[in-house]
Subunit: 130 residues, 2 copies
Protein backbone atom coordinates (compact mmCIF):
# COMPACT_ATOMS: atom_id res chain seq x y z
CA UNK A 1 0.00 0.00 0.00
CA UNK A 2 1.35 3.40 -0.90
CA UNK A 3 2.13 5.61 2.07
CA UNK A 4 0.60 9.05 2.14
CA UNK A 5 3.02 11.01 4.27
CA UNK A 6 0.80 14.08 4.21
CA UNK A 7 -1.85 12.46 6.37
CA UNK A 8 -1.49 13.14 10.07
CA UNK A 9 0.22 10.24 11.78
CA UNK A 10 0.57 8.11 8.65
CA UNK A 11 3.59 5.76 8.67
CA UNK A 12 6.78 7.63 7.93
CA UNK A 13 5.11 11.00 8.59
CA UNK A 14 8.19 12.15 10.51
CA UNK A 15 10.88 10.24 8.62
CA UNK A 16 11.90 13.37 6.67
CA UNK A 17 13.65 11.37 3.98
CA UNK A 18 14.51 14.59 2.16
CA UNK A 19 16.89 15.70 4.92
CA UNK A 20 20.00 14.71 2.95
CA UNK A 21 22.62 13.84 5.58
CA UNK A 22 25.44 15.35 3.53
CA UNK A 23 23.70 18.72 3.73
CA UNK A 24 22.07 18.35 7.15
CA UNK A 25 25.31 18.15 9.17
CA UNK A 26 25.49 21.37 11.18
CA UNK A 27 28.82 22.75 9.88
CA UNK A 28 28.01 21.85 6.26
CA UNK A 29 24.59 23.47 6.58
CA UNK A 30 26.34 26.70 7.60
CA UNK A 31 28.82 26.42 4.72
CA UNK A 32 26.08 25.84 2.15
CA UNK A 33 23.85 28.62 3.50
CA UNK A 34 26.68 31.13 3.30
CA UNK A 35 27.59 29.99 -0.22
CA UNK A 36 23.93 30.24 -1.27
CA UNK A 37 24.06 33.93 -0.49
CA UNK A 38 27.30 34.47 -2.40
CA UNK A 39 26.78 33.22 -5.97
CA UNK A 40 30.20 34.59 -6.92
CA UNK A 41 31.81 32.28 -4.35
CA UNK A 42 33.76 32.88 -1.15
CA UNK A 43 37.46 32.58 -0.48
CA UNK A 44 38.50 29.97 2.05
CA UNK A 45 39.33 32.38 4.89
CA UNK A 46 36.09 34.36 4.59
CA UNK A 47 34.07 31.16 4.58
CA UNK A 48 36.02 29.93 7.61
CA UNK A 49 35.22 33.12 9.55
CA UNK A 50 31.57 33.22 8.54
CA UNK A 51 31.08 29.67 9.76
CA UNK A 52 33.43 29.85 12.78
CA UNK A 53 35.33 26.77 11.61
CA UNK A 54 39.00 25.85 11.86
CA UNK A 55 41.13 25.32 8.74
CA UNK A 56 41.08 21.57 9.27
CA UNK A 57 37.35 21.36 9.83
CA UNK A 58 36.49 23.50 6.83
CA UNK A 59 38.85 21.46 4.60
CA UNK A 60 37.32 18.19 5.74
CA UNK A 61 33.76 19.38 5.13
CA UNK A 62 34.66 20.89 1.74
CA UNK A 63 36.11 17.55 0.69
CA UNK A 64 32.82 15.84 1.55
CA UNK A 65 30.81 18.52 -0.27
CA UNK A 66 33.07 18.29 -3.34
CA UNK A 67 32.76 14.51 -3.43
CA UNK A 68 28.98 14.96 -3.39
CA UNK A 69 29.31 17.50 -6.26
CA UNK A 70 27.59 20.17 -4.16
CA UNK A 71 30.46 22.66 -4.26
CA UNK A 72 33.46 23.32 -6.48
CA UNK A 73 36.86 24.48 -5.29
CA UNK A 74 39.15 26.70 -7.39
CA UNK A 75 42.81 27.42 -6.79
CA UNK A 76 44.70 30.53 -7.77
CA UNK A 77 48.20 31.79 -7.15
CA UNK A 78 47.52 35.48 -7.79
CA UNK A 79 48.94 38.16 -5.45
CA UNK A 80 51.92 35.96 -4.67
CA UNK A 81 49.96 33.63 -2.47
CA UNK A 82 47.71 30.65 -2.98
CA UNK A 83 44.01 31.40 -2.85
CA UNK A 84 41.07 29.04 -2.70
CA UNK A 85 37.63 29.99 -3.95
CA UNK A 86 34.58 27.91 -3.07
CA UNK A 87 31.27 28.03 -4.91
CA UNK A 88 28.03 26.10 -5.02
CA UNK A 89 27.61 24.06 -8.20
CA UNK A 90 24.30 24.61 -10.06
CA UNK A 91 23.23 21.09 -9.02
CA UNK A 92 24.36 21.85 -5.47
CA UNK A 93 22.20 24.97 -5.38
CA UNK A 94 19.19 22.96 -6.49
CA UNK A 95 19.82 20.15 -3.97
CA UNK A 96 20.30 22.72 -1.24
CA UNK A 97 16.99 24.39 -2.12
CA UNK A 98 15.22 21.02 -2.11
CA UNK A 99 16.70 20.37 1.32
CA UNK A 100 15.63 23.79 2.63
CA UNK A 101 12.05 23.11 1.59
CA UNK A 102 12.05 19.91 3.65
CA UNK A 103 13.55 21.86 6.56
CA UNK A 104 10.73 24.35 6.15
CA UNK A 105 8.21 21.55 6.55
CA UNK A 106 9.96 20.38 9.76
CA UNK A 107 9.67 23.89 11.19
CA UNK A 108 6.02 24.12 10.12
CA UNK A 109 5.26 20.71 11.68
CA UNK A 110 7.05 21.57 14.90
CA UNK A 111 5.52 25.00 15.37
CA UNK A 112 2.02 23.92 14.38
CA UNK A 113 1.92 21.06 16.81
CA UNK A 114 3.64 22.50 19.83
CA UNK A 115 1.41 24.17 22.36
CA UNK A 116 3.49 25.57 25.20
CA UNK A 117 2.95 23.02 27.92
CA UNK A 118 4.32 23.28 31.39
CA UNK A 119 1.80 20.83 32.80
CA UNK A 120 3.13 18.45 35.34
CA UNK A 121 3.39 15.00 33.79
CA UNK A 122 0.27 12.98 34.44
CA UNK A 123 0.96 9.40 35.40
CA UNK A 124 -0.96 6.91 33.33
CA UNK A 125 -2.33 3.87 35.18
CA UNK A 126 0.14 1.01 35.25
CA UNK A 127 3.08 3.12 34.10
CA UNK A 128 6.26 3.29 36.08
CA UNK A 129 9.34 5.32 35.23
CA UNK A 130 12.09 3.32 33.54
CA UNK B 1 35.21 42.60 20.25
CA UNK B 2 31.72 41.23 20.59
CA UNK B 3 30.40 39.55 17.47
CA UNK B 4 27.10 40.74 16.08
CA UNK B 5 25.82 37.72 14.26
CA UNK B 6 22.84 39.62 12.91
CA UNK B 7 24.99 41.77 10.64
CA UNK B 8 25.38 40.42 7.12
CA UNK B 9 28.66 38.58 6.81
CA UNK B 10 29.88 39.23 10.35
CA UNK B 11 32.16 36.51 11.75
CA UNK B 12 30.18 33.47 12.82
CA UNK B 13 27.11 34.66 10.90
CA UNK B 14 26.55 31.10 9.66
CA UNK B 15 27.90 29.15 12.62
CA UNK B 16 24.36 28.41 13.89
CA UNK B 17 25.57 27.58 17.39
CA UNK B 18 21.98 26.96 18.49
CA UNK B 19 21.68 23.88 16.27
CA UNK B 20 22.11 21.46 19.19
CA UNK B 21 23.68 18.34 17.67
CA UNK B 22 21.69 16.02 19.95
CA UNK B 23 18.48 17.40 18.44
CA UNK B 24 19.76 18.12 14.91
CA UNK B 25 20.52 14.50 13.97
CA UNK B 26 17.95 13.54 11.32
CA UNK B 27 16.31 10.57 13.07
CA UNK B 28 16.19 12.34 16.45
CA UNK B 29 14.69 15.42 14.79
CA UNK B 30 11.88 13.22 13.49
CA UNK B 31 11.39 11.59 16.91
CA UNK B 32 11.23 14.94 18.70
CA UNK B 33 8.90 16.51 16.13
CA UNK B 34 6.45 13.65 16.44
CA UNK B 35 6.62 13.76 20.25
CA UNK B 36 6.07 17.55 20.16
CA UNK B 37 2.71 16.92 18.52
CA UNK B 38 1.73 14.25 21.03
CA UNK B 39 1.93 15.77 24.54
CA UNK B 40 0.40 12.60 25.96
CA UNK B 41 3.32 10.58 24.61
CA UNK B 42 3.61 7.85 22.01
CA UNK B 43 4.11 4.12 22.47
CA UNK B 44 7.31 2.68 21.06
CA UNK B 45 5.77 0.96 18.03
CA UNK B 46 3.76 3.99 16.93
CA UNK B 47 6.82 6.20 17.22
CA UNK B 48 8.84 3.65 15.25
CA UNK B 49 6.28 3.66 12.42
CA UNK B 50 5.89 7.44 12.34
CA UNK B 51 9.65 7.86 12.00
CA UNK B 52 10.31 4.81 9.78
CA UNK B 53 12.96 3.52 12.16
CA UNK B 54 13.94 0.00 13.16
CA UNK B 55 13.60 -1.21 16.76
CA UNK B 56 17.36 -1.01 17.21
CA UNK B 57 17.70 2.46 15.76
CA UNK B 58 14.83 3.89 17.76
CA UNK B 59 16.20 2.35 20.98
CA UNK B 60 19.63 3.78 20.35
CA UNK B 61 18.32 7.28 19.66
CA UNK B 62 15.95 7.18 22.66
CA UNK B 63 18.89 6.31 24.89
CA UNK B 64 20.76 9.40 23.65
CA UNK B 65 17.66 11.58 24.10
CA UNK B 66 17.07 10.21 27.62
CA UNK B 67 20.68 10.83 28.60
CA UNK B 68 20.23 14.42 27.44
CA UNK B 69 17.01 14.65 29.53
CA UNK B 70 15.01 15.55 26.43
CA UNK B 71 12.60 12.63 26.65
CA UNK B 72 11.38 10.25 29.34
CA UNK B 73 10.60 6.60 28.85
CA UNK B 74 7.94 4.76 30.83
CA UNK B 75 7.40 1.01 31.08
CA UNK B 76 4.15 -0.81 31.70
CA UNK B 77 3.13 -4.44 31.79
CA UNK B 78 -0.59 -3.88 31.25
CA UNK B 79 -2.54 -6.05 28.76
CA UNK B 80 -0.18 -8.95 29.44
CA UNK B 81 2.63 -7.45 27.44
CA UNK B 82 5.35 -4.94 28.06
CA UNK B 83 4.65 -1.47 26.74
CA UNK B 84 6.96 1.50 26.41
CA UNK B 85 5.67 5.06 26.41
CA UNK B 86 7.90 7.94 25.29
CA UNK B 87 7.27 11.60 26.08
CA UNK B 88 9.07 14.90 25.82
CA UNK B 89 10.16 16.28 29.18
CA UNK B 90 9.10 19.90 29.87
CA UNK B 91 12.77 20.94 29.53
CA UNK B 92 13.00 18.88 26.35
CA UNK B 93 10.00 20.68 24.88
CA UNK B 94 11.62 24.04 25.61
CA UNK B 95 14.99 23.01 24.16
CA UNK B 96 13.26 21.63 21.10
CA UNK B 97 11.38 24.91 20.60
CA UNK B 98 14.62 26.88 20.98
CA UNK B 99 16.19 24.63 18.36
CA UNK B 100 13.24 25.05 15.98
CA UNK B 101 13.59 28.81 16.15
CA UNK B 102 17.23 28.54 15.05
CA UNK B 103 16.15 26.19 12.27
CA UNK B 104 13.61 28.80 11.23
CA UNK B 105 16.41 31.37 10.91
CA UNK B 106 18.40 28.94 8.71
CA UNK B 107 15.41 28.56 6.40
CA UNK B 108 14.88 32.33 6.34
CA UNK B 109 18.58 32.92 5.57
CA UNK B 110 18.63 30.32 2.85
CA UNK B 111 15.45 31.38 1.12
CA UNK B 112 16.18 35.11 1.36
CA UNK B 113 19.60 34.78 -0.18
CA UNK B 114 19.02 32.25 -2.89
CA UNK B 115 18.07 33.58 -6.28
CA UNK B 116 17.47 30.71 -8.68
CA UNK B 117 20.64 30.68 -10.71
CA UNK B 118 21.32 28.40 -13.61
CA UNK B 119 24.09 30.58 -14.98
CA UNK B 120 27.11 28.82 -16.31
CA UNK B 121 30.02 29.31 -13.93
CA UNK B 122 32.10 32.28 -14.94
CA UNK B 123 35.83 31.69 -14.73
CA UNK B 124 37.66 34.30 -12.72
CA UNK B 125 41.04 35.38 -14.04
CA UNK B 126 43.84 33.23 -12.67
CA UNK B 127 41.53 30.54 -11.31
CA UNK B 128 41.92 26.95 -12.28
CA UNK B 129 39.77 24.04 -11.13
CA UNK B 130 41.26 22.03 -8.28
Amino acid sequence: MAKNKNLPDSPGRYAYDGLDRVIHEKARLGILTSLAGHPQGLVFNDLKDLCSLTDGNLSRHLQILCEASLVEVWKSYGNNRPQTLVRLTPAGRQRFLDYVHVLESVVTDALAMTPASNDKPRLLPGLTPQ
